[in-house]
């Protein structure tokens, strides 16, 4: 190969475009250095350094918005810097900050090394941000595996038997789903590179080229199998029925911050991929994608809500409620092809979900004892009397997740429902409304436990593990979340406009 070809290729590697991701990777390495340099104090320094670094990077991204590389392909088409990608970059950074805030509380109850935890969170976040901007199935798969492998480690981080079991289950199920997805990708690669077919291409993993090929062959059998398998792999990430089976066990076994990471970031990764794939690349296979999405949405909505009803462990409960939220988001994705506003609605819903979920997880981290997997509804008895601040944050978070007006979750659901209505998905809407009604039952069961039930048979023998006091950083973060949940419910203003801009 001529050297000038390589030079041309290299000249398209615009490293500036992925500065935030590079900085995250650098920060992750710095953490390891800190551990070496300060063998005694690194336990205190590392979380602070991580938070400061993350906030700085987030500030940099916000300061430089809109990115200079907007709507531009870099790295020879591996990346495409879309508006949606920018939104999700900020989303993942916010989520990482909150994961670290919760981890400070939760890790303090274990005697374990800290550095690796933050290190992996940073690397996984960088991979998520790359995935949100990927424009190529190979990069997509590599980024997705980086995320998943990082999460394998995080899930079993506490090394108790339940945690290890959860980690093993996640590993096996994840490997299974990855292999099926890879099989789907290979099928697409093969069929798109087949010289016998019109519009075949050598660059068949590039989204644009693949979309062009699929548009020219709208009823190819192999391609349709490939698409179904890829969608099934993505459905595993978002916990859509029938690939939700791992969710309760893994969510329960994983440490609370990791559960939050799985519930928010990992789910959002799936939806970013789904928006890019179902909305654009597979657009010409709408005859196949639409029924599959409808199937996912309907069954996920019903299953998530009904299964959450009978849970007593709050981590299982929030896991299955997360499945139902995936159902609402899938409803939005199903509406995208006929109602363009659905994209903005999905982003808004994701942010609303992020705010409310982390508020709830933040409270969970304070209520949980040393045995992280054992978090029962009963443990919340008398929280309102004992810790009014935590109880208030919990009530706002759960109220928002349930979609009670005027909290932000209500607006999120409203926008999704309007999009679905515009797209004419009346059947799915009816199912979603049933889902909302059912969900209120279990969310309020939790609120009831925190506010109205004071089992307190005897004050001197509390039946719940000791509750951690709220320190300044966590208190600030939780207050900010609670405030945002309320304020954004009343007024979406610039945020709404930014999220729905194209």
């Amino acid at each position: 190969m001529d050297i000038s070809v390589l030079q041309t290729l290299a000249s398209r590697n615009l490293w500036g475009a992925i500065t935030p991701e590079i900085l995250l990777g650098g920060l992750a390495l710095v953490l390891l250095v800190i551990e070496l340099l300060f063998p005694k104090e690194h336990g205190r320094i590392v979380p602070v350094a991580t938070l400061v670094g993350l906030v700085t990077i987030l500030g940099g991204v916000l300061f430089n918005a809109p990115s200079a590389y907007l709507n531009q392909e870099t790295f020879n088409g591996l990346l495409l810097h879309t508006h949606g990608g920018q939104i999700m970059r900020i989303f993942f950074l916010l989520a990482a900050i909150m994961v670290c805030v919760i981890a400070r509380v939760s890790l303090a109850k274990q005697s374990l090394p800290r550095v690796e935890f933050y290190h992996i969170v940073l690397v996984v976040t960088a991979a998520m941000m790359l995935l949100a901007q990927s424009n190529h199935l190979v990069l997509f798969f590599v980024a997705l595996e980086t995320v998943t492998i990082g999460l394998y480690i995080l899930v079993s981080y506490y090394r108790t038997s339940l945690t290890l079991e959860a980690g093993l289950k996640y590993l096996v199920m994840g490997a299974l789903s990855s292999s099926l997805m890879l099989f789907g990708i290979v099928l697409l690669y093969g069929v798109a590179g087949n010289p016998a077919l019109p519009a075949h291409t050598a660059q068949s993993m590039h989204y644009g080229q693949l979309a062009a090929f699929l548009a020219a062959n709208p009823h190819n059998f192999l391609a349709s199998i490939g698409i179904v398998l890829v969608l099934a792999g993505v459905a595993f990430k978002i916990g859509a029925f029938p690939f939700q089976i791992w969710v309760p066990d893994v969510y329960q076994g994983a440490p609370t911050p990791v559960t939050a990471f799985l519930a928010v970031s990992s789910k959002a990764v799936g939806f970013t991929a789904l928006l890019a794939l179902a909305g654009t690349v597979f657009a010409s296979y709408a005859w196949l994608v639409a029924p599959v999405l409808t199937f996912f949405a309907a069954t996920t909505l019903l299953f998530g809500n009904f299964a959450a009803l009978t849970q007593h462990n709050v981590k299982r409960l929030i896991g299955l409620s997360g499945v139902s939220h995936a159902g609402f988001l899938l409803l939005g994705v199903a509406a995208v092809s006929r109602a363009p506003m659905a994209v903005g609605a999905i982003y808004f819903y994701l942010f609303a979900y992020l705010l409310a979920s982390f508020a709830v997880f933040g409270v969970m981290a304070h209520v949980a004892g040393a045995n992280d997997a054992d978090q029962e509804l009963d443990h919340y008895a008398g929280l309102a009397k004992d810790r009014p601040f935590l109880a208030l944050v919990l009530a706002l978070g759960l109220g928002s997740l349930a979609g009670i007006p005027p909290l932000v979750g209500f607006m999120g659901k409203l926008f999704i429902f309007i999009a679905a209505f515009q797209a004419g998905l009346y059947g799915l809407l009816a199912i979603a409304v049933i889902g909302v009604v059912v969900s209120i039952y279990y969310y309020f069961g939790w609120i009831k436990a925190a506010f109205f039930e004071t089992w307190g048979k005897s004050v001197d023998a509390p039946t719940h593990p000791e509750r951690t006091p709220v320190d300044f950083v966590t208190g600030f973060a939780l207050s900010a979340l609670a405030l945002a949940v309320v304020v954004l419910g009343f007024y979406q203003g610039p945020l709404g406009a930014w999220l729905s801009a194209r």
């Binding site: 199920m173 179904v228 595993f236 029938p242 005859w287 599959v292 009904f306 299964a307 009803l309 309007i418």
Partner: protein
């Protein structure tokens, strides 16, 4: 700062004050009362600044957009809003200062002052609102804060019942108001006042009798017109400064203000209904007021009557005025109803707040005695209160050269010009007004003390007297439209003025009714411990008392006999079908499904893998089925 920022500040200050009090100062009533009063002072200052600066503006920004439907929050600051803002600001400040003294000993002072702040916020929202929807939001907030303040002494049964009654009566009216807003939006595509006015100018407005009448329902509830007037006399269970602020000067006037805002939507049929509602209320309430023995109840019925006056004035509508310019005479149509109603609203706000605060001073001086037959001789004990209260009485009965004289004359003239029957009703009401006001004044202040409390009455401190002084000055000068800077000309230019022979007729009528009523009261009532009318003519007294309770009885009958039975019947159906079959049954099914779903998660990995693969197959079959 721009004027808009000033306006925003005025609106948000009381909200901030209420929030701070609710969050941090619940236990420290002293700081809360100072914070709230300082806020009121700032509001009054900014209100004068905004009003006197001849800069009128409107601004609007989008709050929520759903497809084609947009909700906006905005300011419409014209002369009408400026006038209302000044009234709310000044009376609000007086009441805050008065409350400092009046509520000094109260245990829940912080809650009280927080309530005042949230009321100021809600009321200012109504004043600034540039569209009906925003007005409705603040309309409801005003109802809520009124509920909170009537219910201040919620340990007692009467205030709790009164607040509930006020809330429910207002809901009935608000239901019509909301329907009217929806209908207005449906018919015209907008509820923005400015856009509605523009449409009216270009004759693009949908003419309908239903819209103004439905919107008027809101005013019927809030301004306590027949037949929803029942809540206002009961609302006197709240602290007296609250009665002065909310149930005399500002909130109850919001209905009139709203009518003036939607003047462009009015049609003759609707105006006729509004006019007669107002006139009937004015007469009915004046009759009821004659037999009251509670000082606040007299003032409450008098407020009802005066609000009826304003509503009737609005309903009398426009007036054709001829202007002679040298040789040629040209006629213009004047929205005289708006001018007369707002003028009377302004003067009434001052003298009624003055009298309510005066009654508060009396009640405070007599150790919470409210029965006027157990007072007497207070003129000597409380000279300052006596003088200011006398000014208030003189103003309301239309004593020449005081505020009420001018505004009442404007209304009487408008009635004389437009509808003689209404003129007769209003003139009769004026006779009754001076009868019951002079009766109140004579029994309370003159003669000898008739109880221990009255003989030991004393004047309150500076916080009680200073507001009285301010309001007394305004009561004396408030009727001279010339003294208002011409920044309110948008409203005051609309006040009808009588000329020539009409002028003489109105002046004579006005003086005659005042003298007649006052003379009758002076002659009939002595300084006795019982009602003179009751002794001399028990039949008439009984009839008037019966009139007072007629509406309450009617509603009680309806609630107990009709609504309660219907509710019991519905409850029976609900128990069997909803609670039994649907809720229990559905809950059972849902629970079973939940248990089934739970059984799926057995926790065994090999089962999960099979399930996963089965999922792919299910999906594949489903997708194939759709091929």
């Amino acid at each position: 700062m721009t004027m808009l920022q000033h306006a925003l500040l005025v609106l948000l200050l009381p909200l901030a004050s209420a929030a701070v009090i609710a969050l941090f100062l619940r236990r420290s009533g002293g700081i809360a009362s100072i914070l709230s009063t300082a806020t009121a002072a700032a509001i009054a200052g900014f209100a004068l600044l905004l009003a006197l600066n001849n800069d009128r503006f409107s601004a609007s920004f989008e709050w929520l957009r759903l497809g084609n439907f947009a909700l906006s929050i905005g300011f419409k600051f014209d002369d009408l809003a400026a006038l209302m803002l000044v009234i709310v600001g000044i009376v609000g400040l007086c009441v805050h200062v008065f409350s400092l003294g009046y509520m000094h000993e109260d245990a829940a002072k912080a809650r009280y002052f927080g309530g005042l702040s949230i009321f100021m916020f809600s009321m200012l929202g109504i004043v600034f609102a540039d569209n009906l929807f925003m007005m409705f939001i603040f309309w409801e907030l005003v109802g809520f804060s009124s509920y909170l303040l009537i219910n201040h002494w919620h340990e007692n049964a009467a205030p709790a019942a009164a607040s509930k009654k006020a809330f429910i009566a207002n809901r009935v009216g608000d239901f019509g108001f909301l329907l009217g807003i929806v209908m207005c939006y449906w018919a015209n595509g907008t509820v923005n006042f400015t856009e509605l006015a523009t449409k009216a100018d270009t004759h693009a407005l949908v003419i309908s009798t239903a819209i103004p009448l439905l919107l008027f329902c809101g005013a019927v509830g809030k301004s306590a017109q027949l037949p929803l007037q029942v809540w206002l006399p009961d609302a006197m269970e709240g602290p007296t400064p609250v009665s002065a602020l909310i149930h005399a000067a500002t909130m109850v006037a919001a209905g009139i203000y709203m009518l003036c805002r939607i003047n462009v939507l009015m049609v003759p049929d609707a105006l006729t209904v509004i006019m007669w509602t107002g006139a009937a209320t004015a007469l009915y309430a004046a009759l009821c007021a004659i037999v009251q023995s509670d000082i606040k109840k007299v003032l409450a019925y008098s407020t009802l009557s005066q609000l009826g006056y304003m509503v009737a004035a609005f309903g009398l509508g426009s007036l054709t005025v001829s202007h002679a310019h040298g040789a040629d005479t040209h006629t213009i149509v004047l929205a005289a109803g708006v001018g007369a109603a707002m003028f009377h609203l302004t003067t009434h706000a001052f003298f009624k707040a003055l009298m309510f605060l005066g009654s508060g001073s009396v009640i405070h001086g007599c150790h919470h005695e409210q029965n006027i037959f157990r007072m007497g001789g207070l003129a000597k004990k409380m000279p300052f209160t006596f003088v200011t209260f006398t000014l208030g009485v003189a103003a309301i009965i239309g004593f020449p050269f005081l505020a009420g004289f001018f505004s009442k004359d404007a209304i009487l003239y408008l009635a004389f010009a437009n509808n003689k029957a209404v003129f007769a009703v209003l003139a009769l009401t004026a006779v009754l007004t001076s009868l019951y006001m002079v009766r109140l004044w004579k029994i309370t202040f003159l003669g000898a003390p008739r109880s221990d409390a009255a003989s030991h009455a004393h004047e309150g401190g500076l916080t009680l007297t200073a507001p009285l002084l301010v309001l007394a000055v305004l009561t004396v000068v408030g009727g001279y439209t010339g003294i208002y800077p011409d920044v309110f000309s948008g409203v005051f230019d609309l006040i009808p003025e009588a000329h020539g022979s009409d002028h003489t007729v109105i002046l004579l009528t006005s003086l005659a009714v005042t003298v007649l009523g006052a003379g009758a009261a002076l002659a009939l009532y002595g300084s006795t411990a019982t009602d003179s009318l009751q002794q001399k003519s028990p039949g008439l007294f009984g009839a008037l008392t019966g009139l007072q309770f007629s509406f309450d009885r009617g509603y009680e009958y309806y609630v107990a006999k009709v609504q309660q039975r219907f509710a019991l019947f519905l409850n029976f159906l609900e128990q069997i079908f909803l609670a039994g079959l649907i809720v229990r049954g559905l809950a059972g099914i849902v629970g079973l499904v939940g248990l089934g779903a739970r059984a799926l998660h057995v926790g065994r990995l090999n089962v999960y893998v099979y399930w996963f693969l089965l999922g792919i197959v299910i999906l594949w079959i489903y997708a194939t089925f759709n091929f």
